[in-house]
């Protein structure tokens, strides 16, 4: 099934045979094993899985930001460039410029000691040679306006703790967008947020994608979020891809038993299910 969708050379993001392992007392454990991902330019890929599925480490592995103890194998191609073959300085030019990231907890992901403006400017300046402070500031304000932060020209001098949770996540997105990247990797971007705020952030991401043609990798545990935002879906379990395909196919005709169980377990807002079927219901209870 996956063979047909696998890697045509034209794919914008092409992750091949990605394996991430950590040393243990008895050798190594693979936290991500032999994972393939492809994403076309401007596309949206949802990576979905429960805790321990290795989905977050996948995003860090793509960016080359794994903790030092982790080992990575496989290849990550971005627009034909092999990220895994690049030196650290070369990678740095890609990070934050062509590929940007948004994380789960916006408060701890922003440095409390600097204004949000300074943190956006910093991202911009490190990828654009010879910009003046004033130019960088203009970019920061524009980026904040872009994500609909009201009164951006004034709030650019506020510190992260002066923003609400949703606004902080907007700041993170503004920071990511300031360099006009080609790809945004969003790792559980709405998990820490209230449901109404989540809806706003998801709308914002949709809007940005529509306007800029940004490609998106959305990593989440929430199947409903994936179904709303992604075009392609990869379902992960314990570091392996169990199923992949277009979002409609996955949600209307899942092939793998795990995907089916997972979908069965999702509580519905519009319907009460007689008994929620837990995943692996055939295998006894937890």
């Amino acid at each position: 099934m996956s063979a047909t969708q696998r890697t045509d050379a034209s794919a914008f993001l092409d992750v091949r045979d990605l394996t991430v392992s950590f040393p243990t007392s008895t050798g190594h454990t693979d936290v991500v094993s032999h994972l393939d991902l492809t994403l076309d330019a401007g596309g949206a890929l949802g990576v979905v899985g429960e805790s321990g599925s290795g989905k977050s480490l996948t995003s860090l592995a793509i960016m080359g930001l794994l903790p030092p103890s982790a080992k990575r194998a496989g290849r990550v191609l971005l627009g034909g460039d092999d990220l895994t073959a690049m030196s650290e300085p070369q990678l740095r030019r890609i990070r934050g410029d062509r590929v940007a990231m948004v994380f789960q907890d916006p408060l701890s992901s922003l440095n409390p000691y600097y204004t949000v403006g300074a943190q956006i400017e910093e991202a911009y300046c490190s990828h654009r040679r010879g910009v003046t402070r004033r130019q960088a500031r203009t970019v920061a304000v524009a980026a904040m306006e872009r994500v609909h932060i009201k009164d951006a020209a004034r709030r650019v001098d506020d510190y992260p703790h002066q923003f609400s949770g949703g606004m902080r996540q907007r700041v993170m997105i503004a920071m990511a967008l300031s360099t006009e990247p080609e790809l945004l990797i969003a790792d559980e971007p709405t998990t820490a947020l209230d449901v109404t705020v989540q809806a706003q952030i998801l709308d914002l991401l949709q809007e940005i994608r529509r306007d800029t043609g940004l490609a998106l990798v959305l990593i989440t545990h929430d199947l409903a979020v994936v179904s709303e935002l992604a075009e392609q879906v990869v379902v992960m379990r314990r570091g392996e891809c169990v199923e992949r395909g277009p979002v409609e196919a996955i949600f209307s005709d899942p092939q793998h038993a795990y995907t089916r169980d997972l979908l069965d377990a999702v509580p519905r807002i519009d319907d009460e299910i007689a008994a929620l079927r837990p995943v692996g219901a055939t295998g006894g209870r937890a």
Binding site: E50, S51, S56, E188, I219, D222, R238, A286
Partner: protein, 324 residues
């Protein structure tokens, strides 16, 4: 029916990863056995524990040891010093030899080995007693302040701030110098503890506050547990590691303080020996008889070091993190 966790549930997210279900199980609480096993493979910890054991043994068996070595700590041996040279010990290395194992005190001819052995007694007794008193005070007030909060916490915290803002060493010296020389050891213990408990209490208070916020405390309250039951049954067991580590790290501080005060002449009163006091009396002789300060200096340094290393290793194993 065999009940096993589903495969999904059994796995754990690796550190840092994890989504909505950011539910990493807490690390298994270290049991006494596990801590001991971990420490047994640590050379530094083993050496430190051995040295501490040796000093303790020395302190406990002091009278016996002195019988074997042949000299009591208060006996003057005029034959071991040279009156013509102002009382410098006869022989090289401060008069070390078969008679006097560590040599003799210049001027008086008292046996240094015997004084070291008895000095261990004084140092350990004072340090351990001060530690015990500090622990009782620190844990009690820390728990009270941390659990009850509000006005109780206000009062206790103010007192702690006050005591910690005080120039403890100078004040201890002043008080001890003014007090009658009567029972100096007991006084030392009290004075050290009065200024020492806030440092433990502060940490116990902080931990109690964070534990009291945990839901299992609410669960106990929702089941009708009284304040005392919550403190002793639910909270105290979770403080055990912290207390053990803090206490281990406090002992060297108190040994140092006692020695320092004795060094300054406000601690243990002669002729009763203490290591700090021995070093103090060696100051006038150190260029002529270096062994006189080197021996008690080394014993003292090693004892403080051993407790520090042991406390450090304990903390690494138990990992309570916040204590500095």
């Amino acid at each position: 029916m065999t009940i096993a966790p589903t495969e999904l549930e059994r796995e754990r997210p690796p550190a840092g990863a994890g989504g909505a279900a950011d539910l990493a199980a807490p690390p298994l609480q270290p049991s006494g056995g596990r801590v001991l096993r971990a420490l047994r493979h640590d050379v530094g910890a083993v050496l430190s524990a051995s040295y501490i054991g040796l000093v303790v043994l020395m302190a406990v068996l002091a009278p016996l040891i002195v019988t074997v070595s042949g000299w009591s700590p208060y006996e003057f041996d005029q034959s071991a010093i040279d009156p013509n040279l102002g009382g410098v010990p006869v022989g090289a290395w401060g008069g070390m030899g078969g008679t006097h194992w560590f040599g003799v005190e210049p001027g008086s001819g008292r046996d240094i080995f015997a004084r070291i052995v008895y000095g261990a007694r004084v140092s350990m007794t004072i340090a351990l007693a001060a530690t015990a008193l500090t622990t009782v005070l620190g844990v009690t007030f820390g728990l009270l302040a941390g659990y009850f909060g509000g006005r109780v916490d206000q009062v206790i915290s103010r007192v702690m701030d006050f005591l910690m803002a005080f120039p403890a060493l100078i004040f201890m010296i002043a008080v001890l110098s003014a007090l009658p020389a009567g029972n100096r050891s007991a006084l030392l213990v009290v004075v050290i503890s009065v200024f020492g408990w806030p440092y433990l209490a502060r940490i116990v208070r902080g931990q109690t506050m964070s534990i009291a916020r945990r839901e299992f405390v609410e669960a106990a309250q929702a089941s009708g547990a009284s304040g005392a039951a919550v403190v002793f049954r639910e909270i105290l067991p979770n403080l055990r590691s912290t207390i053990i580590v803090m206490v281990t790290l406090a002992v060297p501080g108190y040994i140092g303080t006692e020695a320092g005060l004795s060094f300054l002449g406000v601690g243990v009163v002669p002729p009763e020996p203490s290591w700090g006091q021995m070093i103090a009396s060696s100051v006038t002789w150190y260029s002529v008889v270096p062994t006189y300060f080197a021996i008690p200096g080394l014993f003292l340094f090693l004892l403080v070091l051993s407790f520090t290393v042991l406390g450090d290793r304990l903390r690494a194993v138990i990992d309570i993190g916040e204590a500095r």
